[in-house]
């Protein structure tokens, strides 16, 4: 309890200092057009204080508070005498408050952003070319390791994709879809349409099967991240869209949406514990305490230790993330669907479009940008996934992902270089998404 009180006092103090500094420096700047000497004295003291603090940190000038305080006094005196003697032209003085105001408003935020994000990003890139303890240059060793280590990246087994049953199934699904679409168009005497709801779903199913085939055949940290990325982003978006559409026509919409959205409020760690309990495994002779195994056994199966079953265990971890993120996709897409103008849908209905057609031809194109936003947001979230893997398996049983491997390289193997290289890999993957976001922002600014 005492600690919490201490922290709260600290918070109040920090806020007070920030606000006082902010108000104080604004007031000081206001003095420039009115009382020039007060302004120069204050500015002199401020600059002197800063110079004193920096000087004090050097080896020659160690002197405790002497240097900062002395600097402030000297600065104030200089400001009051030398700088105050020759003020600039009045019209320039008048512009001083407006010129400095943006700096004052932005300085605290830019300082934190620089210290917490900009400088570290640059430094991490630098560290990725250094050795374990960042002492000597390591050239490209860390990157060599990354793409040469089979547990991180390898393409061994890609042949198994093509020969797997899932892949064959995908081919069959794709072929059937194409044939049906073709036959449909012949029967109706229209052009072959592969962008309709039926064909699209067929091809998407085929794509999913290909991803699953790849998941069964390829292993390594990088591939795992790819599977997370594709499956979570794809399935959470589709499920979220489905729920948003269903809820729009169903009873109890708001309660249903709240409950599906709820996992968003639960921490990844909490969610992992919830699902570990669902996946819990006890030997066949005992009662199953995990929901999944209970259902499996009731259906006549042997109890399974789901999260240790390489390679399919990835799927059970991925399911947790889908469980969490579907709510996000649903809320954002639902708002977009409700934003589709009623007249458009009405017009489509008057033209004789069915519910499915008007959804496919009117609603979907209308919410295209929102879907893009959901997909990119999900991608950024999924790429960084760490907590779920850490809690469920600790990266064991072939479930490791980049973020978790980075963490274990740095904190378990004590290798800053390799950790930094993995972080840089993550960063490079995110870069295109970042550029996309910036582009979108700029086009909205212009609009």
């Amino acid at each position: 309890m005492g600690e919490l009180v201490d922290t709260l006092i600290t918070v109040v103090l920090v806020i007070a200092v920030v606000l006082a500094g902010f108000v104080g420096i604004n007031l000081l700047v206001d003095q420039a057009p009115k009382r020039w000497r007060v302004f120069t004295t204050g500015m002199g003291a401020l600059l002197g204080l800063l110079a004193g603090v920096i000087a004090n940190s050097g080896g020659w000038f160690k002197g405790g508070a002497l240097w900062p305080v002395g600097g402030a006094v000297v600065g104030a005196l200089l400001g009051a005498s030398v700088w105050a003697r020759r003020p600039p032209a009045p019209d320039r003085i008048w512009r001083i408050p407006d010129r400095t105001r943006p700096v004052i408003f932005l300085a605290p935020a830019l300082f934190f952003l620089f210290v917490a994000l900009v400088a570290p990003t640059i430094r991490t890139v630098y560290l990725s070319f250094r050795d374990k303890r960042s002492e000597n240059s390591a050239g490209l060793d860390n990157y060599d390791w990354m793409f040469g280590n089979r547990s991180v990246f390898s393409v061994d087994g890609w042949r198994d994709i093509v020969t797997s049953r899932l892949f064959l199934l995908a081919l069959v699904v794709a072929a059937v879809t194409a044939l049906v679409a073709f036959g449909w168009s012949r029967a109706r005497r229209t052009d072959v349409d592969v962008t309709g709801p039926g064909p699209t779903m067929g091809f998407m199913l085929a794509g999913l099967l290909v991803v699953l085939a790849a998941l069964g055949a390829l292993s390594g940290v990088v591939w795992n991240n790819v599977f997370w990325l594709l499956l979570v982003t794809g399935l959470a978006t589709i499920l979220g869209l489905a729920v948003a559409v269903l809820a729009d026509r169903a009873r109890g919409e708001s309660i249903a949406k709240s409950l599906i959205f709820m996992p968003m409020a639960i921490s990844f760690v909490g969610a992992s514990v919830i699902w570990r309990f669902v996946y819990a495994f006890t030997p066949a002779e005992k009662d199953q305490i995990g929901l999944l195994n209970a259902g499996w056994v009731a259906g006549g199966g042997e109890p399974q230790d789901w999260i240790r079953q390489v390679p399919w265990n990835d799927l059970f971890l991925i399911a947790i993330m889908i469980w969490i993120q579907t709510g996000f996709a649903m809320v954002v897409l639902s708002a977009a669907i409700k934003g589709v103008p009623g007249e458009l849908l009405e017009a489509a209905r008057v033209d004789g479009a069915s519910e499915v057609q008007s959804f496919w031809r009117v609603t979907l194109p209308h919410i295209r940008t929102t879907i893009g936003v959901v997909v990119t947001t999900l991608m950024i979230t999924v790429l960084k996934v760490f907590d779920i893997v850490q809690v469920m398996t600790g990266g064991e049983h072939d479930t490791d992902v980049i973020a978790n491997r980075m963490f274990s390289e740095v904190f378990v193997n004590r290798d800053n270089g390799r950790g930094a290289a993995l972080a840089v890999l993550l960063f490079i993957v995110v870069l295109p998404i970042m550029v996309l976001n910036v582009r979108r922002l700029q086009s909205e600014e212009r609009a």
């Binding site: 960042s134 929901l291 209970a294």
Partner: protein, 320 residues
Amino acid sequence: MSTTTVTPTTTGGRRGPGVGGRLHGLLGSVPTAVLWGLVILWTLPTLGLLVSSFRDETAVKTSGWWSVFSDPQLTLESYRSVFSSSTSDAPNMWQHFLNSFAISIPATVIPIAIAAFAAYAFAWMDFKGRNWLFVATVAMLAVPFQMSLVPLLQLYVNGAHFTIFGETITLLPDLDLQGTITAVWLTHIGFGLPLAIFLLHNYMAALPRDVFEAARIDGADHPTIFWRLVIPLSVPALAAFAIFQFLWVWNDYLVARTFLSIGSDDAPMTVRLATLSGSRGQDWHLLTAAAFVSIAVPLAVFFALQRYFVRGLLAGSVKG
């Protein structure tokens, strides 16, 4: 451009004109059935955890939680053990519960103040380089935190120094922050700022221009407009961000795990829960109760303030 403030409404949406007919009625109830099927699927895992946390140790370990419906026996024993601090490795959740607050409150309140200044400057001040500076800030939304972990760790341990002409200048002193709660919330402030600035900027920029012009004509300068006009008008956006950031920090595991030593007395609940889950994977009764304690606060915040949370989410991801 404006911030989206659409929230899920409670209306039934568009339903076809009542043509009648039993088949139509049957088809009409299909969406409801499918939706509620999904809802049950989505809720069952959490419900299982909640029910289990009220069952006693042997019951949790030997039978499924659903057997509670045929044999209802509930106890608070698990919660009592979870809060106990009798032995050194007792879960001691109460302490970690307070730690979570000690981390989340500063990490929520402080960035709001800092971001509000910056958001105002980006939205309503004219200066050179405003656009690219704002774009750069928003671009930082996507930077993985993993990029910052190692350098920040080094910063907290050693400070930041700069050597020139054989003289080492200390840019930031070694404040001995590693392993302290302060390191955790300082880090969260930095990581939370891009989103805070983005959200608040979107909201502030959408405020009507004439209000500002009227204030200008009355002779108000930027600080006055900021305090008297923009802050009071921006309360919904401030609240939305506060909830967002609070949930984010409360639920964070990576930052806390990085800057606090494992098993630290200062660890927030997520870290404690993860350690429990690792070391006592089989103590389901402790794990269920501890997990529920740690998700109770975010769930309460979520259900009480869902409207603001949704608003923040929408403003952060969709615009216009």
